[in-house]
Each structure stands twice: as structure tokens, then as C-alpha cells.
Amino acid sequence: MATTDVALHDALGQREPKRVVNNMSIQVATVNGSGSQSSNTVLLRSIFQMGVPVSGKNLFPSNIAGLPTWYTIRANKDGYIARKKEIDFVIAMNAETAQEDVMSLAPGAVVLYDEPLNLNKARTDLVFYPVPFDKLVAPVCPEAKLRKLVKNMIYVGVAAQLLGIDMAEVEKALRKQFATKVKAANLNLAAVRAGYDYATANLTKQDPYFIQRMDKTQGMIIIDGNSAAALGCMFAGVTVVTWYPITPSSSLVETLIDYMKEHRINPDGKATFAIVQAEDELAAIGMVLGAGWAGARSMTATAGPGISLMAEFAGLAYYAEVPGVIWDIQRVGPSTGLPTRTSQGDILSTAFLSHGDTKNILLMPCSVAECFSMAQDAFNLAEQFQTLVFVMSDLDLGMNNWMSDPFEYPKEPINRGKVLTKEDLDRLGGFSRYKDVDGDGVGYRTLPGTEHPAAAYFTRGTGHNEKSGYSERPDDFERNMERINKKFETARSFVPRPEFIAGGKTKSKIGIIAYGTSHWAIIEARDQLRDEYNIEIDYLRVKAYPFSREVHEFIEQHDRVYVVEQNRDAQMLCLIKLDIKPELVTRLRSIAHIHGLPLDARSVTDELTTMEGK
């Protein structure tokens, strides 16, 4: 390691020549409840509007106000939007963490800070920009009690000036943020300007970081995964929604409520949906089952603790064959764990949720676009296979802002599965609820209220025969369980197919399997591996459990397959192990960690190269 002096030289010495354009990680360190959220969004959108790919990740505590929060904006011309380990540009507003924040920076990094913090004393190998926020905020914001909030807008202006972000874009982003609240907008805009002008007048650019216009965000949108999921559910025709608040899933339903009120209420004021806040998760899933059984498209959203509480009902849904959709916005477990940090830790326990031989269908979105599309897949699969479908999102995807191409309007009509109407029954005379008529394992059902004397059947979690009659006969039980298992096998060819990305022209011997938000680190890591180690790696992104053919083929075609995931126990690797040909198991390698931060590319690259003996 270089001494700070040398480092300072390295970092600052030949700064002028080398400009770092559209490639940086900006971290705003504040206190939660201080309203920095809107400032950060404005900064994020400004860069986005400059045509530069961005992502914003909020690292917040599990409390309401007064604890440290870090918001990281990554701008990257190549479109890498995963978390980046190294921070290039810190905006230090929080006295409590300022020292540690600064000490952890790499030489040459930039520190924009609240002057009284005197951070410039801390190190000599960084670029420091002191800003007297309190002095600047007073004149623009006469109302003292608003200053705490408005203050944050000042750093937006300072950063814009230092990075060369067009003020017109900042203003546009700000007006969008405050929408109809014009007074607030003007007040905040004044603050941004104050910051901008202060920087122009008092700060001389000493760092290499610049934002420059490009065209990589043309026509794109910015949205969080939970809102995207809410939209997806609305367009999937959801009619009954039950929920019990829990971070990070609450915003999914809260956004859904807003969308539904706006777009799913008839001219006569009647709602085409019912959304109920249940007393807890047992009630939430119970209502989902009741509604799904009675013919509604029903869903709930929760996180790990809620999933655990739903275990008994999940087994009933599996065995009595009742459709329903459960969103699991994964956070760090076990137990209450880290409620405001991200993970992929519920995969294994959800796949096998409930006692007895229970297996559940899982979908794993990696993007806001997939939150939208998989919402529709989930409802279709649930009704097609008369079972629960769990959509395994996570906090990083659900609660952070992501750019995306606009969502596509659903191509397929809604698939309500095998439901017999009065007319069908008139024709058929009767039916056997649990008979495998079509050879796919899926029986036909009727909805309560069907006006036909033969429509009724008995739904139960106890042993039953094809006619849904109570039975303890060993043969009835075994046959029925095998049929239910057949449904699961059939599902393999109906769940969303994995995404395959070839490593290069030549067929690679090494493969990576990942899923969900790990995707973003993987695509970046693959490039690092290619460019720095010239290892070219094939990549398969799994989207669903049970696995389709492609997963097995991918492993067959590679000597070593690294399964990358964000949990401790390599949960996806476990599911794959249990599913593939035994002779393929030796090919699997695990890269699995959990600490609550979104996965970054560098960690994957380092660990994979080490394991590859590079």
C-alpha cells in the first residue's frame, strides 16, 4: 500500500490530465427522517436526464428518525448499475458517521462536507470541498423549521456545479419531484441555486469526476420494484389483496392501493377490487386462500417473518389445491434479522414451506420490468396449477429506484385455469374435482355460487379421493400425492425460462448461475473477468423453481458452474443439487454471502478468480 503522501501524489498529482467521465459512485451520508430522500432523488434524476445510466441505493436503518442513512448514486456510462464497493464522491452531512465515512475512502476520493465538521483535518490524500450549509440556507429559507429539510437541497446544487450537471436538468427533476407543490418547488430550487452559486464562487474544481451528456437513457423510466410489481398485479387483473404491513413489502401494497383507486374504480364509483389490511399474516394468507378458492385473483405481500407464519396455510393450499400469489420481498433473516437490508435468504424454506411433502412454485425477478411481467406470470401459473406461487423479490429490488425500458402491455389474455361453469356441468352432468383428466395432473374445479346441483365439492386438508370425498385409504392417498407431484413436473415447462448469456464466441468451460438482483453484479463481474483475466464465462439467470430443462443443460455443458447468491447457506445451489443428475453435482461451486448490502461485482470477480486459482 502506498503511503498517504505517495497516494496523494498518485491521486492528485496527475489529476488534470485524467478526467473521469460518467463513471462514479456518489454517497450521501445523512440522518434518516431529515428529508434527504427528495434531494437524492433530484440528484439521481438529474444525472439520468443527462442520459447517463444511474442507480440509487438507499441504505437506511430500521428506525424512523435520527439514525445514519447512506444513499449511493452510481453513474456509469457502460450501464453498470450494481452496487460499487468503492465510493468516489462523499457528501458528508452526518456528524455521527463523517469520520468513519471519510476514513474508509480510497485515496483521491472527494469529500463534500458541512464546513463545521472540519473533515479536511482527517486525511491529506482526499479532495475536500467544505460548504457552510447553515449560512447558505438561512437567506433562502426564512422559515426556520423548514431549514433542516431545505438544507439538503443545497448539496444538490453544489454537486451539480462540481460535476457539471446542467442546472436545467436539475430544475426539471426538482419540479417533477415536487409535482403540484409549486411553493415547495420554488423554495427548494432557490436552495439548489444557492449551492450552485456558492460552488461557482468559492470552490475550485480539484477532482477528476464529471458528468457529461450522453444518450443511454432515452425513453427510459425510473421506478422501484415494489411499484412495478403493483402495476403488474393491477394489469394481471388482481381482485382481492390482503396484507399485513412489514418492511420491505409494505410499499408494494400501498402503491397498489393508489394505482387501483385511480384505475380500477368504475364510473359508478364501484371498485373492481377489495384490499384488506388483515390482523396478521396468518389471516392475510387465509383470506388469499378463501378468495382464490371462491374464484378471485388474490394475493398478499410480505417478508420472511410473514412467510414463516404462513407455513401451515401454504400446506393447505398445496394439498387442497387453491390458487394464490404471495410476494416475498426478502430482507435479511433469520428471525427479525436486519429488516432494512437485502437478501436472498428465503429461497430454501419457501420452496419447502410447510410440513409433509410440500413443494412450492417460486419466481425470481431481477428487474423492475420482471416485477411487472412476473406479476402476470404468477397469477396465470397459480390458477393454471391451482397452487400458491411465491414471487421472490428482495429489498434492493423492491425499495430502490431502478432505470428500465418502459413496461410492455401484456400480450397474452388472462388465463383463469380449469374452471367448470354451469354450462359445462349441464353438458358433463358432473365432475371429479381431483381427477387427472388431461394427463397434466391438474383437475377441474368449480366456483362456489355456480348454479348447478352437481357443482359443489368438499375442499379439505385431510385425505380425499378423486371425488373430494374424505378418504384414509392408502391407495387414494398415494395416488393423489403422485398426481399433485405431476402438476409440479408439468409446471417445469410453463414457468418463465432462464436467461442465457454466452461468454464469448468460443464455448466457455465455466458457467455462472445466479438469480434475482445478483444479476447486476454478475454482468459487470463477467466483463471484469474478461477484461482483467480474460476468462470468458457463460451465464444462466434462473427465473423460476421448479427448474426447466435449460438449467440441467447448462450444467451439462460446463465443467464448473458457480452459483452466486446472497445468503449464507447457498440455498439455490441446494435446490439445484436436489434437482439435477447426480453425476453433475460435482460441477457446482458456491459463491454465497450475506451481510445486507447488495451484491457488488468486485467481490464476485475476486472470489471466482481465487477459486479458479488465478
Binding site: 384488506v276 371462491a294 418502459p406
Partner: protein
């Protein structure tokens, strides 16, 4: 054997043209003499006489001997035998999906007052349209007779074990929490239970009926407070109840001195006579204190304790479409392309 064939009389039919047989269920597998069987009979009669279409009825239940009974009445109605203590949430979901259904939920005292008290409490708050019947024998029948949370203080098990915890009065609780038709009856009190069930069918909102239903196998002995004998000795009917359905022609009028009438939401009338002087079934607070008194006097008060025919139900509050949500067409549940375009535009 008669050698002359006599013409068999046409079977009696109700106003929708069904015979009582159309309301029957499968053969019971409960113990002979179990109170639950008697309740099933009363349900069949009440549904038949009220001319309810069996296809519109759903029978959610929990787990227990009581919760099995939906298999033994109304086979033409859908049943959902859920998990233990969670019938309320399943019933709620079903009614959200299709508010035109008539929910007749069957539970037990263990299923409701022990494991299920949480969902019970929240169901009562919502005034969901449902007839919630607790077949109350003070024990867990299906697991062979342990005390449930409605067992009375000092009640004795066959083994001699005494119950040392106070009982939960599900009626007092239901009234306190917001249920709009609350009563208690006894599986052996044919007339009373019959009228109460018919009134229940006419009610809009949550009907909560706690029906004492002796477990002949585990809780019908000396020392039990839920035995046939104990009920014979301690049942204290609050009123004499009669019910005049909306579709029945006006009958002779009555003496307002000794009789009070409550007009139900559908125009039918619930008539109480020989009441305790000045007991008012529309007064929540009085009803609750009266129930507490009953406990201190060791009497098993039966009858309709509280009724409020006009309170808005959970479905009213949700203001959903007349067409059940379950059967709304895609055109009603999937907004058009322009909606998505608009939303996308806002996110740019």
C-alpha cells in the same frame, strides 16, 4: 305387506321448489347423540324453510368434530374445511371474492376460543356477512376431551381434573367487538335454535351464535357444565323467539305489552315475547352487563342478546361492484393500454 298400491303423496317443497332432501348431507361420522348432529338437523330445516338456494351457500369450517359437520348437511353447497382456528380468514376471503354467497361457518369452542380467538376477534370487528356458529361443548372432542377456553371455572373432566381458568364468553366478546346479531342457544332446544337460525339467515352482517352442544363421549358426565343434564337444569331463556320471514303474509297482531318486534333488513320480523321486564336486545351495554350477571348467577342465559339489523356490513364499506369480483371479465379487471402508457409517461 300391503297388496293394494297407495299413491305416494308428492313430497313437500319450499318456495324455490326444493324438498328438504335437497338440503341433506352425507352420513354423519360423529358419535351417536353428539349435539353437533342435532345442530346440523336444525340448519337443514332452517335453510329449507327459508328457501335458500343451496348453490349460493358456502360452508367454511375449521378443524374439530364440529368443523367436520358441514360434510353432514347441504351436500349441494361448497365446503371449505380449513386449518384449525383459521376459518374466519378463509370465510372473509371467500366473501370478498363473491359477496353474493351466503356464508354459514361452523366452528368449535376450541377452534374458536382457544387457537382461533385472534381471527374471531377481528372477524367480529368487521361485521362480515356470515352466520358464525360455535358448536360449544367446552372440550376438544376430536383430540379426546381436553378443556377448551369456554370450559367453566370448576368444570370437571371425566378424569376428575378441574378447570381453573375463567371461560371466555364468546357472546359478550362478539357484542363488545361489533357483531350485529349475537345469541346463545342449546342443541337440545329445537324451537329456539330453529327460529334463531331462520332470523340469522335473514340478517345482514355478522351473526354469532354460540350453541351449547354436549359432547356425549367426553363431556356429558356429572360435574360437566356442558352436559345435557346441566343444560336442562341451568338453561335460562331470555325470551321466547319467533320469526316471520319477509315472504310470509302478515299474521295476527300481538300484544305490545308482552312482545317486542325487530324488523330485519330484508323486512322479515324477529319477535320476542315473555322477555325479562325491560330487556332490550338492541342495547349493547345492557346486553353485555346482563351476560356478566348471568355468569355470576351461574345461569346459562340463552336467546338473542343483541341485534342491530341496519349496521353497514364489511362488504358495504368496501363498495365493490355488484358483479362478484370472482367473475369479473378481463375487460373489467385489466386496464387498457392507454393507462399503462400514461403511467409510463409519468415515470420518464
Amino acid at each position: 305387506m300391503a297388496t293394494t298400491s297407495t299413491p305416494t303423496p308428492a313430497p313437500k317443497i319450499n318456495r324455490i321448489g326444493l324438498t328438504v332432501l335437497d338440503y341433506r348431507g352425507g352420513k354423519t361420522t360423529l358419535c351417536a347423540g353428539c349435539g353437533h348432529n342435532a345442530i346440523s338437523e336444525r340448519i337443514i330445516d332452517a335453510m329449507y324453510e327459508m328457501g335458500v338456494s343451496p348453490e349460493r351457500v358456502i360452508k367454511p369450517s375449521g378443524i374439530g368434530c364440529s368443523s367436520k359437520s358441514p360434510a353432514y348437511f347441504m351436500s349441494r353447497s361448497h365446503s371449505f374445511n380449513a386449518v384449525h382456528g383459521r376459518m374466519p380468514s378463509v370465510a372473509t376471503g371467500a366473501m370478498l371474492a363473491n359477496h353474493k354467497l351466503i356464508a354459514l361457518g361452523v366452528s368449535g369452542d376450541g377452534d374458536t376460543a382457544s387457537i382461533g380467538i385472534g381471527q374471531f376477534v377481528h372477524l367480529m370487528r368487521r361485521n362480515l356477512p356470515i352466520i358464525y356458529i360455535i358448536e360449544d361443548n367446552g372440550v376438544y372432542g376430536l383430540t379426546k376431551g381436553q378443556f377448551s377456553a369456554t370450559a367453566d371455572l370448576g368444570s370437571k373432566l371425566k378424569s376428575g381434573v378441574l378447570n381453573d381458568l375463567p371461560p371466555i364468553d364468546t357472546c359478550a366478546m362478539a357484542i363488545t367487538l361489533g357483531a350485529t346479531f349475537v345469541g346463545r342457544s342449546f342443541s337440545g332446544d329445537k324451537r329456539q335454535l330453529h327460529s334463531m337460525l331462520k332470523a340469522a339467515i335473514a340478517h345482514k352482517g355478522t351473526v354469532m351464535l354460540d350453541v351449547v352442544s354436549p359432547c356425549v363421549t367426553f363431556n356429558d358426565h356429572e360435574g360437566s357444565t356442558k352436559s345435557y343434564k346441566y343444560m336442562k337444569d341451568h338453561e335460562e331463556p331470555l325470551q321466547d323467539i319467533s320469526f316471520i320471514p319477509s315472504f310470509q303474509e302478515i299474521d295476527v297482531d300481538y300484544d305490545p305489552g308482552t312482545t317486542v318486534e325487530v324488523t330485519m333488513h330484508d323486512g322479515s320480523r324477529l319477535r320476542f315475547s315473555k322477555l325479562e321486564e325491560e330487556y332490550d336486545a338492541t342495547n349493547r351495554i345492557k346486553a353485555i352487563s346482563r351476560l356478566h350477571e348471568a355468569h355470576e348467577k351461574n345461569e346459562v342465559l340463552t336467546g338473542v342478546f343483541y341485534v342491530n339489523p341496519e349496521a353497514p356490513s364489511f362488504i358495504d364499506m368496501l363498495n365493490v361492484t355488484e358483479e362478484p369480483l370472482a367473475t369479473l371479465p378481463e375487460s373489467a379487471t385489466r386496464p387498457g393500454r392507454q393507462v399503462l402508457d400514461q403511467v409510463m409517461e409519468e415515470l420518464r
